[in-house]
């Protein structure tokens, strides 16, 4: 028996090796040696069709439509993926002309059009096919890629070249209002899952010829198209070069969301802080491009990436710029305060209540002591319990359908909060504090930064529980050390706080009036610093007044 088992394992071994080659088999099908050399088209239609069918397998969504065209009844074949092409385009604009219009033309003009490929292309472009994009291609790989990516491949006759006619038409969402990044005042359109729509939304905002899009394919199997967008004469070239370099290094099977790319190109994956900004808003992306940043649009996701993203950027909301500057400044300042509250409130409460009640005003001390009366847990446990309860509620609410999500809010917020206090499990003060930190963490416009802050809260609570105020200060120092050393695409994460760049402070804690925002941020090092020119006449007016 043992011997047999050994024998079995010996048999299995070569099987494993076979598995490795199996991948290639999928690509190349069960082909003989000669066929394996099939890199380019043969002057043989049936053979070419066989090669394609072999490579693509028998998937039902890939259509091989064979037909004859012209007076000479030349055999031809259309290859495309059902569902990824516009059916109407295929029938109306490709098949109809080829099967009916062109033969009619030949009959009328007694001229043979469909003899060679060049003639076909010219004729098709001139007379028949209305599709915008037609190109010739020899390589099987490219043809397959096109057929799987919303193109129609036209193999015809015994030609060594085939035509790729683009007729993309897949199920897609319309342009809708983004669900994240919502604004009270501002454009309502948002990116969706189709890259081309997204680039169009950008173009609509920046009609400058300097706006360049660079296309690249990412993902071995997903073959996701990404576009790097920037303005040629504003962008920081170093950052652009770095983006290209990092994107080039990505070698992954699939990119299903921009998060894949974000995490593959960010500087520090250990940091709790996001180093790449994401947005669903074309206006936000356009603003970033105009500041000399690089925007990466990725097909199949509405979330665009903005690099380099510094700390202060996550406190900016497009609305700061749309509303008048006083309002913008106030709201932005509130966000900074909220960030401190979100991180340090629970820690400070723990430290003050457990170590230094002398720091609290006397009457408040008595109020806290009274509210803690009868609560069986130490303050740390109480705080952790409540914070954990909040995180549960948030997570439960986030993953559930909206209608049930509201129920969770009521059950969690009202019933659990109130009942827990009545049952003496927690004190009303704790409920107030948890609510305060929760609201504060949501007051930060960036969801990912808000989560980062909420995470940092827990180490701060632990430090406060072991070292008191000293622990809170330690936590503050550690967070600051980390942020100061952090860099994103060569830009300091805390810029322009540090390194100190005073001219950029016009758009930092406060958002100064547009008339004073003459330059683009210096810390992103755009090639062209001048954002607006203050008119001479206006200066004259100012002098007079």
């Amino acid at each position: 028996m043992e011997y047999k088992a050994k024998g079995d394992s010996k048999v299995k071994k070569p099987k494993k090796i076979e598995r490795k080659t199996h991948r290639q088999e999928i690509y190349e099908g069960n082909l003989n040696q000669e066929q394996k050399a099939d890199r380019e088209l043969w002057p043989d239609l049936t053979h070419n069709i066989a090669v394609l069918k072999g490579r693509l397998g028998g998937s039902p969504d890939i259509v091989f439509h064979e037909f004859v065209m012209g007076v000479d009844e030349i055999e031809a074949c259309l290859v495309f993926t059902d569902g990824l092409v516009e059916r109407a385009v295929v029938t109306q604009d490709i098949l109809r002309p080829l099967e009916i219009d062109v033969p009619m033309l030949e009959v009328q003009s007694e001229e043979k059009i469909l003899v060679d490929i060049d003639g076909l292309v010219t004729r098709l472009r001139q007379r028949a096919i209305q599709s915008a994009e037609i190109r010739k291609e020899k390589k099987f790989d490219v043809l397959i890629g096109a057929a799987l990516g919303g193109g129609v491949v036209l193999l015809y006759g015994d030609q060594e070249e085939a035509l790729i006619i683009s007729a993309p038409g897949w199920p897609s969402r319309g342009v809708e209002e983004p669900s994240s990044d919502t604004l009270i005042r501002g454009p309502r359109d948002g990116f969706n899952e189709t890259l081309r729509f997204n680039t169009a939304l950008l173009r609509r905002r920046i009609k400058d010829p300097g706006l360049r899009l660079e296309s690249a394919m990412l993902g071995k199997r997903s073959r996701t198209e990404i576009n790097i967008c920037y303005i040629y004469d504003i962008v920081n070239r170093d950052v652009l070069e770095e983006v290209r370099k990092r994107l080039k290094k990505i070698d992954i099977d699939a990119i299903l969301e921009s998060g894949y790319v974000e995490q593959l190109i960010e500087d520090s994956y250990l940091s709790p802080f996001p180093q790449v900004q994401t947005t669903e808003r074309p206006d936000k992306a356009a603003a970033a491009i105009l500041e000399g940043r690089v925007v990466i649009l990725i097909d199949t996701t509405p979330f665009a990436l903005i690099v380099p993203a510094t700390f202060v950027q996550f406190f900016q909301s497009p609305e700061d710029y749309y509303e008048r500057w006083l309002i913008g400044s106030l709201t932005r300042f509130i966000r900074y305060i909220a960030s401190y509250l979100a991180v340090f409130t629970p820690g400070l409460v723990v430290a003050a209540v457990a170590y230094h009640p002398g720091l609290i005003p006397t009457k408040l001390t008595l109020a806290i002591a009274a509210s803690r009366e009868g609560v069986p847990f130490p303050i740390v446990v109480e705080v952790l319990l409540m914070e954990a309860a909040f995180e549960f509620l948030r997570e439960a609410g986030a993953r559930l359908p909206q209608s049930i999500g509201q129920t969770i809010g009521i059950v969690g917020g009202l019933i659990i909060g109130d009942a827990a206090v009545r049952a003496n499990v927690t004190s009303p003060l704790m409920v107030v504090m948890v609510a305060l930190t929760a609201v504060a963490s949501f007051a930060i416009p960036s969801y990912s930064l808000g989560i980062g802050f909420r995470m940092l809260r827990f180490p701060t609570i632990f430090l406060a529980a072991t070292f008191g105020i000293y622990g809170v200060v330690l936590s503050f120092i550690l967070i600051n050390i980390h942020m100061v050393t952090l860099k994103t695409f060569g830009v300091n994460y805390l810029a322009p706080f540090t390194p100190y760049q005073f001219s950029d402070w016009k758009d930092l804690m406060f958002r100064l009036p547009w008339k004073t925002m003459v330059t683009r941020p210096v810390y992103t090092a755009p090639q062209d610093l001048v954002r607006q020119k203050v008119a001479d006449s206006e200066e004259g007016d100012n002098e007079q007044s």
Partner: protein, 399 residues
């Protein structure tokens, strides 16, 4: 090994050691703390001390210690907090006896209180008359030295029973300690209270062997009254300052915020028709001068204020009438202050007002010679000149 790593290693060790400075062993949760709001201290009369036996008796006899009765006012949070309160009292007073040398007062009360006493929120210390007469330094030393005690604790003296002061049931302020402290806030509206005297200030005055006034508090049926003060020299109580004397005292030291004065209205006969004056901005400059070998104490008081009440018939104030009122006001103030200075010179023989410092500033050489005999000899023998300047900013409405 190498010197190369020595420096970072030393730094690292130092950094790690700093972690041991604070830690969870310092943890003392708020609900485990007995928050002491006020402490009352009074000396136990000798006849009672004689009744003690055993070790205490031996200690008292051998070391000449003073036996003290100490009352701790603990906050009872559940009784304090507004709506959710159980309706119980907001405080509990626990008394104990101790020897004056027993600095660790907080340990003593732990035999009675369910929670260890925490002095970080201590608001007030009330001292009984006997303990004040015998010296307060050895009783206050414990608070002065404790880093966990605030320097802003208000100190009060009382002629009544200390325990009674701390057990006043006032419906306005459920906690006597907070009641006491809130009274000191009214100082600017009530000229009969001496300025608030806090622990840090007292510690300095004791060290300087200075003369100062500590607010006096008296217990009523269900209220406390803060008026007048105890005069201290160094750490001993030497006399009492009456309510009106306190008024004059504040005029001299220039600590008058709002002080009503009534004087006879111009043209009216007798005190029935009066003018009420409310000082709003008062300054007092004390100085000394040597005239013909005699020390002369000069007080220059300048005050600005409003005539709030008006009882004469004339519609418009004439300059003469105003001048008359001003003169009456000035007379009134200078008379009051002169009386007080005279009393200080003759009865207490104490420089309550800090003229000594002025001598020290102006005649440092002379001060060195006379400072030991200043209160006894030179201050009582000095001439006094009071100059009052009244400015009336506004005249009030007619009644």
């Amino acid at each position: 090994m190498g010197n190369k790593h020595k420096k970072p290693m030393v730094l690292l060790v130092l950094a790690l050691l700093s972690l041991a400075l604070a830690g969870c062993w310092d943890l003392w949760e708020i609900d485990d703390r007995g928050i002491v709001m006020a402490i009352g201290i009074e000396e136990i009369p000798p006849e009672e001390v004689l009744q003690t036996q055993g070790l205490e008796r031996q200690l008292i006899e051998s070391t000449n210690e003073r036996a003290l009765k100490i009352t701790y006012q603990f906050a009872v949070p559940s009784g304090f907090a507004g709506e959710g309160s159980s309706g119980g009292p907001a405080y509990v007073n626990l008394g104990t006896t101790a020897l004056s040398s027993e600095v660790r007062l907080r340990g003593l009360i732990s035999t009675q209180s369910s929670r260890k006493g925490d002095l970080t929120h201590l608001q007030a210390v009330v001292l009984g008359p006997e303990v004040c007469k015998n010296g307060i330094y050895c009783v206050l030393e414990r608070f002065i030295r404790d880093p966990g005690v605030r320097r802003q604790i208000s100190i009060f003296v009382t002629e009544d029973d200390v325990a009674q002061v701390l057990d006043v049931n006032n419906p306005q302020e459920p906690m006597p300690a907070l009641y006491l402290v809130s009274l000191t806030d009214n100082e600017d509206w009530a000229n009969r209270m001496p300025p608030d005297m806090q622990l840090g200030e007292i510690s300095r005055r004791i060290r300087e062997n200075a003369v100062y006034v500590v607010p006096r508090v008296a217990a009523g049926e269900n209220s406390l009254k803060m008026a007048g003060g105890g005069i201290f020299h160094g750490d001993r109580l030497v006399g009492w300052l009456g309510e009106l004397e306190t008024n004059a005292y504040r005029w001299i030291i220039g600590e008058v915020d709002t002080a009503p004065i009534l004087v006879a209205a111009p043209g009216s006969k007798g005190p029935r028709r009066t003018e009420g004056y409310l000082a709003e901005n008062t300054q007092s400059i004390r100085s000394v001068e040597i005239v013909d070998g005699q020390i002369k104490l000069k007080v220059k008081i300048s005050t600005e204020g409003t005539l709030v009440e008006r009882q004469i018939k004339e519609v418009v104030w004439s300059n003469e009438a105003l001048a008359e009122v001003k003169k009456a006001l000035a007379n009134r103030v200078s008379m009051d202050t002169k009386v007080l200075i005279k009393k200080a010179q003759e009865e207490w023989r104490l420089d309550l007002f800090g003229f000594g410092r002025e001598v020290e500033k102006k005649y440092p050489q002379l001060w060195k010679e006379i400072k030991d005999e200043w209160n006894n000899l030179y201050f009582p023998g000095a001439l006094v000149e009071v100059d009052v300047d009244v400015i009336i900013n506004r005249t009030g409405t007619k009644r």
